[in-house]
Symmetry: C2
């Protein structure tokens, strides 16, 4: 039986992907050279569609990696000489912090318990931190940082670089890139694609920092996918190494489909579906929203405590053709996670609510 | 018009890929969790098929990255404390060497002109080099290193690690993994897949080296796709980050198809098609094989000097439905490159020869 995936990534595929994949195979895009005009046109198209969708200005480049996790490493290599600062409140923001330690950066951390969120006015960034690492949507706990708080932090610390992990929320967050130096996501979440491609948005300020670090005898910014090599190839819409051409094509086509609907509509639909889900959780005797503070509740990954063992809830939903995510880590047995991405419609969310209320 | 791609990667897709892709989409493999038993079964299946095809022993693990270029960086990070040694005779072996310099390793090099190959008896590895970096098939020039020479080098320098770049030849080279510590390839060459997945084979000895380096205060082995994290997840057929599940599935199915034919047959067919192509080049007044020494001629990427401007040859072939690769770098206008991968049949190679002889 065909299932509807409400898992927070890999997730339900965007409905148009099947036809785009067919076109790609018909046009033999899996065989074209990444040094051909045909590829450059694909990169340019995807770049344009993402710029429109996410409102990315000319000051920022858009690059492709193997995954968003890879970007954690790349931004730390390229934009941190000594010190980074991390807001940690779940498994993925924690991994970003772990990557900094693995690269022997001096990583500062402000940590909150799983399920709690951050507000700008409580953030004190250490004096010598060069990069402020924020997670817009913590996939493990369903906590979101409001974009206005992200912007406030940058306004307060204008000379520091700000990078936003928006892996499981893009294109939802309305980031102002005059106040965000870098952001990144992966395609298997809200873009409804199979996993295998990371997207890295970075500003010229990030590039300049990387170029400066590269000149130091004591520093390496890595060898693969360094910001200077990505950027120099980007000028002609090429990539330093052979990229995932097929997925770059699919991403461009899906971004185009989302642009046809319009990002404002996408955001409103996301909020309306999230409202339906949270209302159901609030009213139900069998579930409660995990995140207490409404302002910190994720619009794209909704986490609920379950009265029954979550395994039963998940198994019942599966029999009805719906796949719901398990809780993360130690919450595996007592929580479920519901992705609220553009690929799932109002009708499908209603069907899920009906199933969960049985 | 549907073209036959004789380009050395991205290349002609393996004929069965369309049906495997259809199955993958029907089974919604783009949506499954990489922490599910279904994914672990896919990884295990692909691992088994590659082990059979390439004769990889239990001492070696098989890991997935975003590309083979990424593996250049990973092996250098994980297996070199101070010094590496590189045989360089073209653009890709040179890039491997460049990566070592970018990571601030002390990189020794033995370089030969473009189009020339290496024999074991002329190789002197510097005393403190820890990793010997060999390129089985130099994609830019069509030069191959014989596997018996690779094995001889390891026998002479048994305590050093040997890594083999077989990006544009695997599964053709019959490597003896008791004499090869690590090898890697990407899927858009002889496996006939779209680009977007690198495969890294590495031994327990490589892992032990990485674990040793990780303990040094002064060393980082990177943060993403380190050998210790890859290996610890590999024990249960998982990956540290979300991998390209779809392509791992496709690779397993294509490896299975190749196993059904049998690796000995695949290798014989490769050699027979290469023989046809080189014979044609030798006999033709319009072309000459670029690589002089027969023992160094690649079986998988055949490079020819053209009498006519290569652009004309390529354009004529394209009109006849065949895409041939350009020469690399400064040989762009005077050479063509012809991929000889399992995806192209005897009949297709004959048709190409007929076209080129027009």
């Amino acid at each position: 039986m065909k299932q509807t995936y409400f898992t927070p990534g890999p997730a339900e595929l965007y409905p148009t992907i099947y036809q785009h994949l067919q076109t790609a195979m018909d046009e033999q895009l899996g065989s074209i050279s990444h040094r051909s005009q045909k590829f450059r046109d694909i990169y340019k198209f995807t770049d344009e569609q993402l710029r429109t969708l996410l409102n990315v200005p000319e000051t920022h480049g858009i690059f492709f990696t193997g995954s968003a996790s890879e970007v954690w490493e790349r931004i730390l290599f390229n934009c941190v000489e000594h010190e980074s600062f991390h807001l940690v409140n779940g498994s993925f923001s924690k991994k970003f912090y772990d990557y900094a330690n693995a690269l022997h950066k001096y990583a500062h951390v402000f940590e909150k318990p799983f399920g709690e969120g951050f507000d700008a006015n409580e953030i004190e960034v250490p004096e010598y931190a060069e990069l402020i690492c924020l997670t817009h949507n913590e996939t493990s706990s369903g906590v979101q940082t409001r974009t206005q708080d992200i912007h406030k932090i940058k306004r307060k610390y204008a000379k520091k670089l700000v990078v936003v992990d928006m892996v499981s929320s893009a294109p939802y967050p309305d980031l102002d890139y005059s106040l965000v130096d870098s952001a990144f996501f992966s395609v298997q979440k809200a873009f409804g694609m199979p996993a295998g491609l990371g997207v890295w948005i970075a500003s010229q300020t990030c590039l300049e920092k990387a170029e400066r670090l590269q000149k130091y005898d004591s520093m390496t910014v890595g060898a693969h996918h360094t910001l200077p090599t990505l950027w120099s190839h980007y000028k002609t819409f090429e990539t330093p190494a052979t990229p995932n051409v097929l997925f770059i094509y699919l991403l461009g086509k899906i971004a185009e489909d989302l642009n046809k609907i319009g990002i404002d509509t996408i955001r409103k639909q996301t909020e309306e579906k999230a409202r339906m889900l949270y209302k159901f959780l609030d009213d139900s005797a069998d579930y409660t929203p995990f995140v207490q503070q409404e302002r910190h509740r994720s619009q794209t990954v909704i986490v609920a405590n379950t009265q029954k063992p979550s395994a039963d809830v998940i198994s019942n939903a599966k029999q009805a053709g719906m796949v719901v995510g398990t809780g993360y880590g130690k919450f595996k047995d007592s929580q479920i996670r519901i992705a609220n991405f553009p690929a799932t419609s109002f009708v499908q969310v209603e069907a899920l609510i009906k199933q969960l209320s049985k």
